[in-house]
Symmetry: C2
Subunit: 403 residues, 2 copies
């Protein structure tokens, strides 16, 4: 799938970045990133709901509890998940290590890890990575950091927006990693958003929750979350302007809209980078009694391997969509079933259109992005999901990917 | 995967069978089967829970409501699903058509269809199929019928047992079709069991429920059920002996055990025939607070494409198992996680065994059948699932399979 990465963004003020090869990965590839604010900053975060949360998530949750963080430390190549008490002790040590190099409190570090599960990291190469990472910190290190957090990603992911609030220009800049397809969240998804806006903790968390709900969470098939997922928002308050204390109001809305747009960009990049994915598909389900029921049906559809292989084959196989919807356990009248591919309506009131229309639907599906709209009645409930197709490449990659 | 079909069984007394090419499928392949009892018989049935149940399921549910059926009529090549009112009218007509040829009441017909979704059948070729099918009825037609119900199956599926009860020999004989992998239930699973035991409706339904719960339902990933799934038990009472009126007692247990064994055989054949499957995997999850929680975790594991591609690659990737378990939303202590591949314990108390043990686990996984045991604590809750690996062949097949 053709990807437009876009130019490297000019990051928000008040932050330095680095991305280095510390020796955790082979062949000189970057594997260690630091995003550090000039001073302790307001921090909001959203973490995986997985019951087997990795050691860095356990420590990060604790450190962010008071709402202030100064540095996000990310290593790729090793998720430090499924490593038990030894893994947690390692993460605590690594926070102390970075904190001492930065001369800050270890509780101001937010650690993230991504990569292989079940292997305890070693201190000597990690200490070297920390040392190199601190030495490499620079206002221009954004792209290097974005590359250092990649694992199975084929390209780095970043997005940026500027908004005017109260006469000041505020920047929001984010990097993410993740090449998820069936499981966008499977040990894959990390995102760090920095802004120079002046936000209270409550406003920052409200903005982040809104943005994640509309982006990463709708890209997440079955609500899958990995052992390591984390989305972090750091606000340096470096831009002139007043503090946005609570949710609501024009300034809050402006920043929130920017963060939502950035997260939407990144979620789509993650789905597009899905291992072997060739198509980005927006799924809209409507006509159910409420949004929750529509969400259950939408999750069943994007969770269906048969649906996703039909996408790969550009096959407007509405029978698989109907069967997947019927599988969700939510009541609807199959005779009211309708489905469209972009503007081509293939099934109306349970009746299939002509072979000519089917051929038009097939043409839509040959593109690398399209929308599928499924109507199951006349209720107000609706849901939106972002997904991809499932190709042989995905199976090949994940059968041979070493554990 | 090497399959032992076994010899064609001698069917239970009191039934005739036929399997013919009626013209619904191309190239002369059998596509229409009848199983007919000499007289109206006790019938128990279990149908799909899919909310978009196909027309034949709607009619079959109605016809079996009084507990008596004389003939099961199955066509392959067309599921008559997603066909609305026209599809239901077709099925009703087809029951009248067969009933008139057999000179019985149309309410004694149990119709099943399997194949493509969304295409309304045509009466002329179907009437021809009915005519040929009735002409072909014979006590020796069992294998032909088992072949006629196949769709994407690579081999016909049958199983048989004889049991002695109260001095009489009772036969239980069954045929099934289905080549499910991720979705064993997706428009694929049908099973007809005939016995010459004398069973009450209640006893027959109790036996069938027990057998299905331990076989087809544990092979069903995410509890998936297609638009057309049906499992039917017909009891002719032709064997000498008394009527088994209620659940319980030695005779009931003997017949129930036989039906359970047959359904287990057939469920495993269906999983083995999974499109492109190369391995049959028994998943055991234990140590949760109760069976329901264990079942939710087991469903999350067998529903994980990452787990199933690791099976394909013979990779003892316990990290994917841990992450899939953690994804189920059920609480457990990740540090108590244990996993074995057959007798090889790879993870104990959250600690991974040596590279040598990992190599032994890999060897187990290179076989075409193995068991994975996952322990998540010390509770009494346990669950069992049967699944297969996921290979590139599956994706290729389902991307190109025409809708």
């Amino acid at each position: 799938m053709k990807i437009e990465i876009g130019p490297i963004p000019k990051p928000a003020r008040g932050f330095r970045f680095s991305g280095v090869h510390g020796g955790l990965k082979a062949r000189g590839r970057r594997d260690f990133a630091i995003v550090v604010a000039d001073r302790p900053s307001v921090c909001a975060a959203v973490f995986t709901q997985n019951k087997a949360a990795a050691a860095p998530v356990v420590v990060a949750r604790r450190n962010v509890a008071d709402g202030r963080i100064q540095a996000v430390m990310i290593n790729s190549g090793n998720a430090n998940a499924g490593t038990g008490e030894r893994g947690r002790k390692f993460t605590e040590w690594s926070c102390r290590e970075l904190a001492s190099r930065l001369s800050i409190d270890p509780g101001l570090i937010l650690p993230c890890s991504t990569g292989v599960i079940g292997v305890v990291l070693e201190r000597t190469p990690f200490a070297r990575a920390v040392s190199l990472g601190v030495d490499g910190l620079s206002k221009n290190g954004f792209a290097a950091a974005a590359r250092a957090i990649m694992t199975s990603d084929e390209f780095p992911k970043w997005s940026s927006r500027q908004v005017e609030i109260a006469g000041a220009t505020v920047a929001v800049t984010a990097m993410a990693k993740g090449a998820g397809m069936i499981h966008p969240g499977m040990a894959t998804m990390l995102c760090v958003i920095v802004t120079d806006a002046d936000l209270s903790r409550d406003a920052a968390q409200a903005i982040l929750n809104t943005a994640v709900a509309q982006s990463f969470n709708i890209a997440s098939v079955d609500g899958d979350t990995s052992t390591n997922d984390a989305v972090v928002l750091l606000a340096s308050a470096e831009a002139a302007g007043h503090c946005i204390e609570t949710a609501g109001g024009a300034d809050y809305d402006a920043v929130c809209t920017a963060v939502c747009a950035i997260c939407d960009d990144l979620a789509r990049m993650i789905v597009r980078d899905g291992e072997g994915a060739t198509k980005l598909v927006d799924i809209f389900v409507e006509g159910l009694d409420d949004d929750a029921r529509a969400g259950v049906v939408a999750d069943s559809i994007v969770g269906s391997v048969l649906v996703k292989t039909a996408f790969a084959g550009a096959d407007p196989n509405w029978g698989r969509l109907l069967a997947a919807a019927g599988n969700a356990g939510v009541d609807f009248d199959p005779d009211a079933f309708e489905v469209s591919f972009d503007e081509v309506q293939l099934v109306r009131d349970g009746m299939v259109a002509s072979a000519e229309v089917r051929s038009m639907a097939r043409k839509v599906m040959r593109g690398d992005a399209f929308a599928v709209r499924i109507s199951l009645g006349s209720g107000p409930g609706r849901a939106h999901r972002i997904t991809s197709d499932l190709t042989e490449h995905y199976v090949r990659f994940n059968s041979s990917y070493t554990s």
